[in-house]
Structures are given as structure tokens and as C-alpha cells.
Amino acid sequence: MQENIKIICIGCPLGCEITLTIGQKGKVEDMWGNSCKEGKAYALEEYQNPARILTSTVRTKNCSRPLLPVKTTKPVLKTELMQCISALARIRVSPPIKIGEVVLDNFLETGVDVIATDNL
């Protein structure tokens, strides 16, 4: 059983479409379409660990500004993004908050914190 998956490299404006052949147990058996070795490394990382820093907002209370911008301290798996978003929709924060302060710690017990990206 083999499967081909495609990943677009974001390393430069070329945007190479890199094809990975995935064998049994998810092992990468072949790769083509990249123009440079950074592209190869990117595709492997993107295949093995498809995660993103999540940026969003949380609602405030007792504050003239209705929202505080936040981000995760580490990348979150793409499959867990919406769970993280739901968790953020449930909380409300009050001033004062310092930029970098944790507003949600150890989200889903992943060791990822959500921190303020602005003062409030």
C-alpha cells in the first residue's frame, strides 16, 4: 500500500509542489518536486508534524476594548486547532494584562500555553 501526498513548500515564491510517497506505517519512501534541500526538509517536517502557531482573540470584561489578541507559545497540531479555538471562545479576561502573560495554560495538556500578544 502506497499513497502519494502533495505538499506546497512555503520557503520561497517558487511554491514548489512536493510529492511524498508514503509507504506502510507512514514511512516516507520517496519525494520529488522540490527545487532545493530546504524544500525537502520543509516537506518532511510538514508531513511529520503538521502544526501551526495559532493566533486569535479572547473576549475581555470590564474593558473598553472588547478583544485581546493572543497566540499559542508553540505550534498546535492542525487537527487540534478548532478545539483550541473553542477553548478560547469560552474564556474572558480582565485588565490589566501584560503582553506575554499566559491567558490559558497547558491547553489540552499539550504543554502549549496561550499568551497575550498585547497589553490590556
Binding site: 482573540t57 473576549r59 472588547p66 478583544l67 479555538i85 473553542s86 471562545a89
Partner: protein
């Protein structure tokens, strides 16, 4: 639901209805005006080219047409009206261009007929003049060199039709007419002595009805079988250009085949296709389409080649209600219904802004004819004080204004230099929506079309009206600016 009783009910708050209301406020009578939209002049009036004092083109305007007679009678009324109401009015003159000697037949006919007719029908009009090639291109260096001469009509002026309409409604209100925006007529029945009109704000009983519903005039008349006329809606198209090219022209220019280009009182340039060259439109369909837009641009560029697509900041369609399609736009329907007494239709035709002041006087005569007692209102005040317009003031005046109210120091709309003070004043004077504010004091009228000021005006409206920002609308119910609060959709899941 509230119940109202009145003598005269005016349906429609466009230029026709508000001019009639204001004219009626000169008399001691009990009258109301209902407008279905949140604000006045938001139908046909809004789509106007803003040109007034048309009528000297006596090849198209003729004594047998009712609309022409109204336009002629209205010419001396427009300037004093704008002055009393402190609405912008500027005489710019028009140039009707022609290309060659053959093209001069029509101008020659026009000039000789004008000489003949003006004494009788247009005693107030300044004479038309034939302008030669050199003078033409000296006056207007940006018009196409294809044109070799023009007929100059010094009478043509421009105004801001929506501001005029709002001012008329305000002034009528100050003089005792009940002014009700956001009030939609749902049905009309004949009572014993009075009509019974159902609206979303309650029942209104009125002895007389004036149907000035513009685009909806047939629909309203049909409610009570007073539709003893046929109207043909015709689409017109207008576009507005960035102020940075506003100085391309000083006069209105037009030619037989290429529509119109004209300056606006706010320093923009408008262009549009004249209704005569337009096909019939589907009534109430306000969509612009590529065919009309491309044609209009092409025609405008024939007149003024420097006009460019990239300088267009907005465009729209309007409707012209032809009374008789074969006869063109010159006929209109102002009169008592043949079938329903005390029901007056006031579909004033095209050009409506020019026809309105005289049409209003005619409607008053019709009311008297139908038995309404009309005694002069001794308290009538013709004057309305307009709100300050920050960017039109001198630096010293600006300083004084800010000193009197700090909110005039806060610019909200960058493109049109509109201050918070002006927006608050507009809301105080009746604006209830983003468009209401926009048509009164222009935030969002400029080159960015509200991209920058939209959220800010929304917040000011919410604050001044004591509502939440997501309740703010562009133009009344169903046109909310933002539909949900942050996270609301995530909570619903």
C-alpha cells in the same frame, strides 16, 4: 399599534413628497408624510445627476408636456429654495456640444425657438448662446477636440438633491407637518370620510392622500384602484469620480448621443447615460450591469477623454418613470385620480428635481380644488439652519468651531474631512443609519467608500442612539453593518 388621524397624508419622502410637505406647511393644515426608508430621498432622488434649472433646451422641453411646464415654472423657484434651506446651489452653465456644420442644424433650431418661446414660457431664463470652437476649448480644455462648438445655457445649476430633500423634510417638520421616516404603507382602504392607511407604525386615517411614492407610485395607487395611468420604468446609470479629477470640467457637458458629464457641488465629477438612450428596466431592480456601465464610460470618454475607469469611486442606477414611452420622458402624472376622489397622484416625471417646486404648488391647488380649506400659516418659517460643514470653513472659523465644541476637532472620515461634531449633529437632525449619516454629512462618500470610517461611524451611531453596534444598519431593517458578535458563532456550535 398607534393610530393617527390627519387631513392630508403624503406617501413618499423623495423630492416630490418633501417639496409638497414643505409647501403645505405654509398653510394651517393637519398633514403627515410617511417614508418607507430610514431617511429621505433614498429612491429616485438619490440617483439624480444633481442638475437643476433644465428646461431651456426647448427642442426637448415643450409646452404640451406637463413635466416641461413644471420644469419651466420651477426655474425661478430653485435658487431661493436652496438659499432658504441652506442647501448647496451652484450655477455652472451647460455646454451642449456638436461636432460639425451638419450638427449645427439642431442648435440653430434650438436658438431660434428659444427666442420665440422664452418670453412666453421662460421669462426668467438668461438667453442661450452659440459658442465657437476657440471659446469652447478655452473654457473647457479637457473636452474632446472632436467637438467644434456648443450651445451654452447659463441657467444650468447643480445642487445636492438628497440634502435638499432632507432639508425640505426638516423644514416641513419645523413648520408643523408630521414627518415619519421608516413608515411603510401596507394597505389603503376607503373609509366613510377618510382613507384608512395601514402602516408598520400603525393606522393613519386621512381625508386626502398624495401619492408621491416615486418608483412605487403605481403600486400605491393600485392599493385603492387609483392607478388610472401607466408608467414605464427606465433605468438610468450614474457614476461618480474621485475628487482629484473633479477639476476636469467647470460646466455640465452633454451631446445628443453621449450622455452627460457634470461637476457636483462637492467637487466630484458625475457621468451618466441620459434616460432617452436607455432600454426599459425591470422595476425595482437596482443592479448595475457591465453593459450599461461600459457604455456609460465609453460615452463619457467621448465627451471628456481623460475620464478613466480607475477614478470611478461609485456607481448606481436610478429609475425614470416614463408616463408615455413614445413621447419620451416629458410627460408626468400630477393630478387627482379620475376614479378615486381626494386621491392625488404626484409622479412628477423627469427631470424630477427641477419639476418638484412647481409640482408642489400645483398639488396645493388640487387639494383646494378637492375642498381642502387652506389658510395661511402665520408661523411659517421658510428658513432652515444647516449644520456646520467643517471642511468648507476657513482656518479661523474651524478654530472657533472646535473651541465651541471639541468634537469638531476629531476627524472621522479622512477622505471627505468629516468631523465627529458633524456626525453627531446629523444624528441629532434625524440620521438613523450609516447611509443617513453619509447623505447628510458625507462620511463614506469619498474615495475609500467608508473602508476607514465605517467602523467609527457605526460606533458613534450606536453611542448616540443608545443601541449596540450590531444593531446599526446601512439603510434600515435587514441591512445590518455587522451581523454577529465575536465568538457568537463558536458558542452556537
Amino acid at each position: 399599534m398607534a393610530a393617527y388621524e390627519t387631513e392630508v397624508l403624503i406617501i413618499g419622502g423623495g423630492i416630490a413628497g418633501t417639496t409638497i410637505a414643505r409647501e403645505l406647511s405654509k398653510y394651517k393644515t393637519d398633514a403627515m408624510l410617511v417614508e418607507k426608508e430610514m431617511d429621505f430621498g433614498q429612491g429616485i432622488t438619490k440617483s439624480s445627476s444633481t442638475i437643476v434649472n433644465q428646461g431651456c433646451n426647448v427642442v426637448t422641453f415643450r409646452p404640451e408636456y406637463h413635466n416641461s411646464r413644471l420644469v419651466w415654472a420651477g426655474m425661478p423657484l430653485m435658487e431661493p429654495l436652496c438659499k432658504e434651506l441652506q442647501v448647496p446651489y451652484k450655477k455652472i452653465g451647460s455646454l451642449t456640444l456638436f461636432k460639425n456644420r451638419a450638427g449645427m442644424r439642431r442648435p440653430n433650431k434650438l436658438l431660434s425657438r428659444f427666442d420665440e418661446w422664452s418670453k412666453k414660457y421662460l421669462p426668467h431664463a438668461k438667453p442661450l448662446q452659440l459658442i465657437d470652437n476657440d471659446t469652447l476649448h478655452n473654457w473647457e480644455p479637457n473636452i474632446s477636440k472632436d467637438f467644434i462648438g456648443a450651445v451654452y445655457d447659463p441657467n444650468i445649476a447643480i445642487t445636492d438633491p438628497v440634502r435638499l430633500t432632507i432639508a425640505l423634510a426638516e423644514n416641513a417638520g419645523q413648520n408643523g407637518i408630521g414627518i415619519m421616516p421608516d413608515t411603510k404603507v401596507l394597505g389603503i382602504a376607503t373609509g366613510t370620510e377618510k382613507f384608512v392607511v395601514q402602516t408598520n407604525k400603525g393606522t393613519i386615517k386621512s381625508r386626502y392622500i398624495i401619492n408621491a411614492a416615486g418608483e412605487y407610485v403605481v403600486k400605491i395607487a393600485r392599493e385603492i384602484n387609483a392607478d388610472d395611468f401607466v408608467l414605464y420604468p427606465v433605468k438610468s446609470y450614474m457614476a461618480v469620480l474621485d475628487k482629484k479629477v473633479g477639476n476636469l470640467l467647470a460646466h455640465m457637458v452633454t451631446s445628443e448621443e453621449h450622455g452627460t458629464v457634470n461637476p457636483s457641488v462637492h467637487g466630484n465629477l458625475f457621468f451618466g447615460i441620459s434616460p432617452g438612450s436607455q432600454r426599459l428596466g425591470k422595476i425595482h431592480d437596482h443592479a448595475t450591469d457591465k453593459i450599461i456601465a461600459d457604455a456609460a464610460l465609453e460615452h463619457a470618454r467621448k465627451l471628456v477623454p481623460a475620464i478613466s475607469k480607475k477614478d470611478i469611486i461609485n456607481s448606481w442606477v436610478g429609475f425614470i418613470m416614463y408616463r408615455n414611452f413614445e413621447m419620451g420622458w416629458h410627460e408626468c402624472s400630477v393630478g387627482v385620480s379620475r376614479w378615486v376622489p381626494r386621491f392625488i397622484n404626484a409622479s412628477i416625471g423627469f427631470p424630477g428635481i427641477c419639476a418638484a417646486p412647481a409640482a408642489a404648488q400645483e398639488v396645493i391647488d388640487l387639494l383646494a380644488q378637492e375642498g381642502l380649506q387652506l389658510a395661511q400659516n402665520p408661523d411659517f418659517n421658510p428658513n432652515r439652519k444647516a449644520a456646520p460643514i467643517f471642511h468648507e470653513l476657513s482656518d479661523d472659523e474651524k478654530r472657533q468651531l472646535i473651541a465651541s465644541d471639541r468634537r469638531y476637532g476629531q476627524i472621522i472620515c479622512r477622505c471627505e474631512t468629516v468631523t465627529e461634531g458633524e456626525i453627531v449633529e446629523a444624528i441629532k437632525n434625524g440620521a438613523r443609519s450609516l447611509d443617513g449619516v453619509k447623505f447628510r454629512c458625507r462620511p463614506g462618500m469619498g474615495r475609500c467608500q467608508g473602508g476607514f470610517c465605517g467602523p467609527k461611524v457605526t460606533r458613534i451611531l450606536a453611542r448616540e442612539l443608545g443601541i449596540s453596534p450590531e444593531e446599526v444598519t446601512k439603510k434600515g431593517d435587514g441591512s445590518h453593518y455587522a451581523l454577529y458578535k465575536s465568538k457568537e458563532l463558536l458558542e452556537a456550535e
